[in-house]
Symmetry: none
Subunit: 208 residues, 4 copies
């Protein structure tokens, strides 16, 4: 077990080093030797633990992804009512923890690679689909399905837009501002979706 552990530890260290470098210097200037140096290892170690530079990048994207979604999933699970679940989605996406300059910039780098790398596409798709499904599921307990699907799609797009804005202009959008924008967007959309009808289950309690 100690034997297996060392692999995982080293892999983790390398992935962390890669993440740091991508944030600091950009994916373009990240190199295998820089990663090993940053991790305090010899040049060859990256290829001892990863088949490829691509494999390292894949693992790095996966970890970045896990860090970000952990916030979202955790909050959504903790939520009691459907509307709280939707709020948890926003809060998780634009939380102080995950909405870091480093995270956002690194994530943008990966986004830019997705169109040309099937493996990254797959990773991205899995997360995107699951998130949107969860969101739509929560929304369907509040409003009509067709509206729910639209809002789920629009809200994810809007949140992505916030991430993008934050990446391109780090001083442009603080987490608090981001959340405020998303909340208003959600309120307006919900208001338009159920103009004057009585809410069937205003509190959302009782819904699984």
């Amino acid at each position: 077990m100690a034997r297996q552990a060392i692999s995982e530890i080293r892999r983790g260290e390398l992935v962390d080093a890669a993440l740091e470098l991508i944030h600091e210097q950009g994916l373009m200037n990240m190199s295998v030797s820089k990663v090993s140096a940053r991790a305090g290892l010899a040049t060859g170690m990256v290829h001892h633990y990863f088949a490829d530079k691509g494999a390292l990048l894949e693992a790095t994207m996966r970890r970045l992804n896990k860090r970000i979604t952990a916030q979202i999933v955790g909050r959504m699970r903790a939520a009691q009512t459907p509307i709280e679940r939707v709020h948890a989605f926003i809060d998780g996406n634009v939380s102080e923890d995950s909405f870091t300059a480093a995270h956002v910039a690194a994530w943008l780098e990966f986004w830019a690679q997705v169109p040309r790398h099937v493996q990254l596409q797959r990773i991205h798709d899995v997360v995107a689909r699951r998130t949107r499904t969860n969101l739509a599921h929560a929304l369907k307990q509040i409003i009509a399905p067709e509206h729910a699907d639209y809002i789920a799609q629009a809200l994810t797009i809007f949140v992505d837009g916030i991430w993008l804005r934050a990446a391109v202009d780090p001083q442009g959008v603080t987490p608090a501002e981001g959340r405020r924008l998303a909340y208003r967007f959600l309120e307006d959309s919900l208001a338009a979706a159920k103009p004057k009808t009585a809410k069937p289950n205003p509190t959302g309690r009782g819904a699984k």
Copy 2:
């Protein structure tokens, strides 16, 4: 002038070649020699017309930027009423012409570089600010200023989100879908902004 013309022609050819390569292989794999080869010129020509690789990239981003905003600016200028101007913003951003896979992907590549390159930041800021100002100006003729500023910000963010979605999942969002989403978003936001009040200047005529 004929002398200068040749310079401009060559510069244009190199920038076009760079754009093609960025779309096809990514910014990461674009190289000076590939660009010159694609443009049908010798290796040294890039440095004859550009100070260095960075200058070429800057010019390339500028051209990409011009191509995209030309659509938007043109349509917004042609619009007669404020609301048409807002629609023109959406249509121009998500038009069949500018909303190409090539454009979107290349643009995303540049977005990812912005955080680390002051020069690119400046280029991006100029465009972003001008666009948002135009949009806010038009909106202020329809609704109250505080709402107008929010919607201008939110709409640009939303449109960016659509671009991002299109870049990451090319089959995910067609231009038509993108426009439909943006229109609905606009309608909902406007509806929330002026709930029951009579519009002060419904046609927008008279506004510059």
Copy 3:
């Protein structure tokens, strides 16, 4: 002894793996790690059983050598008459068993290294000398010594030529064709060596 047996078994497995790899990928692309992987062992095992890569190669050449000469020596020992012994030399060299594409190609790889490696030279010389001595000894019981020496030398050269041809163009020479060529060569040489004289000992019986 059981302890030693395991050593020998492992050594044999490594040498076999080396032979396979040399045949498949060439000596140039054979590496210690590939050998250990092919043998199903850990990287370090090669250096546990062999001083270094050179020692492994030496052992590999020795084994290849043994496999090939086993055919020849066995057949020559079984032969009853001198001329049968000469035939056995040809048959053993170009037998269906030893004249394999794998054997021939690997052997050629080693031949190419011989000029620069004293150790390999020694191994090669021992075998070459013994074979040629055996052959000359048998021939001297058929024809005059000076002719016998020539034919022994020429026949070994010719057989080497056949091996070379087979290595370079695997479809070029089948074992059967190779034997036919060698037999004809032998006949012509013998005919030229004893033009019209009565053979001193036509059957070769009585010769040790």
Copy 4:
């Protein structure tokens, strides 16, 4: 023209450097950087003039091949009679000029690579086929076709065997010895091919 010349000059220098290194250290230890250093150029120059390490090796084999066959072809062209042409084949193959330790050793290195490299196969095949055709053509003017084909094949094999012997044991076969062996082989074969018949054109004169 001067421009084009420099390419050819450099290419030639690199190929020469490669040949030297292959002779001295073996194909296994020849590296691109060693070649450029030996040629007095920077590391990258090899890839400026050759697509690949493979392309360099291909050009190297081609040049080695040309050097060797130049001797043979020149002598065969100068020969007046068919039998002289056959002798020219032997003399050219085992001449003091081409039958150098360096040539022989380098050639053997390439032979060993042929089985795994299609491009080298092609180069080898072209030469081998042409040589043997020329030889058979000359022989057919002396003896019956079926014998001519056999002797052409056997003689090329025998000469290859001599080369191989020379490569593996440089002190083993001098050019003079090699020629003597080949001549005797030829004589014996011819004698066996036309035992007692009158030669149709004993001098070979008049044959083109």
